[in-house]
């Protein structure tokens, strides 16, 4: 790729920084921080003067560069006889980040060079799929995805435009789950003791939920709880629907 660079091709501050390092043919492990900071800042100025939206991340990295620069101006630990702990090169963290980013950038390039379905290779009936996008909106992939589910709910909620509906009560969800679990266990065993139902719970919260679930199920008349005598075993059973 020739580097007749247009500003908008940068994917972010790290991308810009890598570009500057390449352009100046700098050793990434020994970045002349003053030079790079200057070039980086002037680049941001240019972006601003072109009325390009300079995302916050660019400014964060600018601050980081300036910070590193100021740290490098301080006497180095070797010279500082009183400094007892060895302080790492202030650039090292940024270098690590750049190297990591560079690898992912390469990974992205490699991915893009693979023979992509519907771009380079086609499966049978590809033309049919095109149509499905318009007409077959009613059908959703077989590969069920939680994202589809949330999206579906989000769609509904957005049309209702009621903010209070946005709140999902996780406590209520956990309670519902316990109710489900108890019903499953009872469906299998028909009758269980109270202790059995509470047993095997890992923490107090779960015990509490189990207890609340039992109360709720009693209230709903889904289960029956009975005890043989004052100190007898408490048993729980499903109420059979007529």
């Amino acid at each position: 790729m020739g580097y007749e660079v247009k500003l908008e091709i940068f994917e972010g501050p790290l991308d810009l920084l890598l570009h500057l390092i390449k352009k100046n043919e700098i050793n990434i492990y020994d970045i002349p921080i003053t030079l790079i900071t200057e070039q980086y800042l002037s680049h941001i100025e240019m972006m601003k003067s072109l009325n390009l939206d300079v995302a916050g991340e660019y400014l964060v990295l600018a601050a980081t560069l300036i910070h590193i620069k100021s740290k490098m101006l301080l006497p180095s630990p070797e010279e500082n006889l009183e400094g007892e702990e060895y302080e790492a090169d202030p650039r090292s963290e940024l270098v690590m980040q750049l190297l990591e980013y560079e690898v992912f950038k390469e990974a992205a390039t490699q991915l893009g060079q693979r023979p992509l379905l519907e771009r380079d290779v086609f499966k049978r009936g590809s033309s049919a799929e095109e149509k499905n996008v318009d007409e077959g909106k009613d059908e959703i992939d077989v590969d069920l995805n939680v994202f589809d589910l949330v999206e579906a709910f989000y769609r509904i909620i957005s049309t209702l435009d009621k903010t209070e509906l946005m709140e999902i009560d996780m406590e209520k969800m956990s309670l519902t789950e316990k109710i489900n679990e108890i019903m499953d266990r009872l469906a299998e065993k028909k009758k269980m003791t109270f202790a059995e139902l509470l047993g095997g719970q890992l923490n107090k919260r779960m015990i509490l939920y189990t207890f609340l679930a039992i109360l709720e199920l009693m209230r709903l008349r889904m289960i029956r709880v009975y005890q043989a005598g004052s100190f007898g075993v408490i048993r729980v059973a499903l109420v059979m629907e007529k």
Binding site: F122, K123, R124, G125, S126, S127, A128, K131, K137, D138, E139, I140, D141, V142, L144, N145, V146, F147, D148, L149, V150, E151, A152, F153, Y154, R155, I156, I157, T159, L160, M166, I168, M170, M173, S174, T176, E177, I179, N180, M183, D184, L217, R219, L220, R221, M222
Partner: protein, 175 residues
């Protein structure tokens, strides 16, 4: 195989319906129609001779690959084993139940603005949804909730793994 023949084959392969010679000619303007027809005939003969799982046939004024009729038994057997598709309506109904359980049918209908009866029935049949009990109000309406199978299908450990709407909203707003 020569390129134009292979390209013709690839075109017919990707097309959903039968492909007409004229359509091929549009893609390969430098190849004469007669030549296209000749290549098509060659391909048809090759597939016939090969005796594989499908043939190239002339149907409805065009050319199309079709599986050999002798194999219909096996192909039907295969197609029947396919997992079924959830309609958008079913997905919406399921979403309301997942997030609002235990929930009444009347509530689902109100959320969606349409009757959810048939979606609900489908979800119950597929065991993604179940009856959780009856609400303690006059008429004792049925309350619905999700099942263990629901968690399995959506790869969730428990319901608290479901993304909250706030999390989804964050993605939407950054977009």
């Amino acid at each position: 195989m020569e390129d134009s023949k292979a390209i013709i084959e690839a075109i017919i392969f990707t097309s959903e319906g039968p492909v007409q010679v004229d359509k091929i000619k549009e893609v390969l303007p430098d190849v004469e129609k007669d030549e296209i027809s000749r290549l098509l005939k060659e391909l048809m003969e090759e597939y016939e001779k090969r005796g594989g799982g499908f043939l190239l046939l002339e149907v409805a004024g065009g050319f199309q690959f079709r599986t050999r009729a002798d194999f219909s038994y096996w192909i039907n057997k295969f197609l029947k084993g396919r997992p079924a598709i959830l309609s958008r309506a079913a997905m919406e109904t399921l979403a309301v139940i997942a997030y609002k359980q235990p929930v009444l049918k009347s509530e689902i209908d109100r959320f969606r603005g349409v009757d959810s009866g048939s979606s609900l029935k489908g979800l119950l049949e597929r065991k993604l949804v179940r009856i959780m009990g009856r609400k303690d109000v006059p008429g004792r309406p049925i309350m619905y909730g999700t099942t263990k199978k629901f968690l399995e299908v959506f790869n969730l450990k428990d319901l608290s793994e479901l993304p909250t709407l706030k999390e989804l909203k964050d993605l939407h707003e950054e977009a």
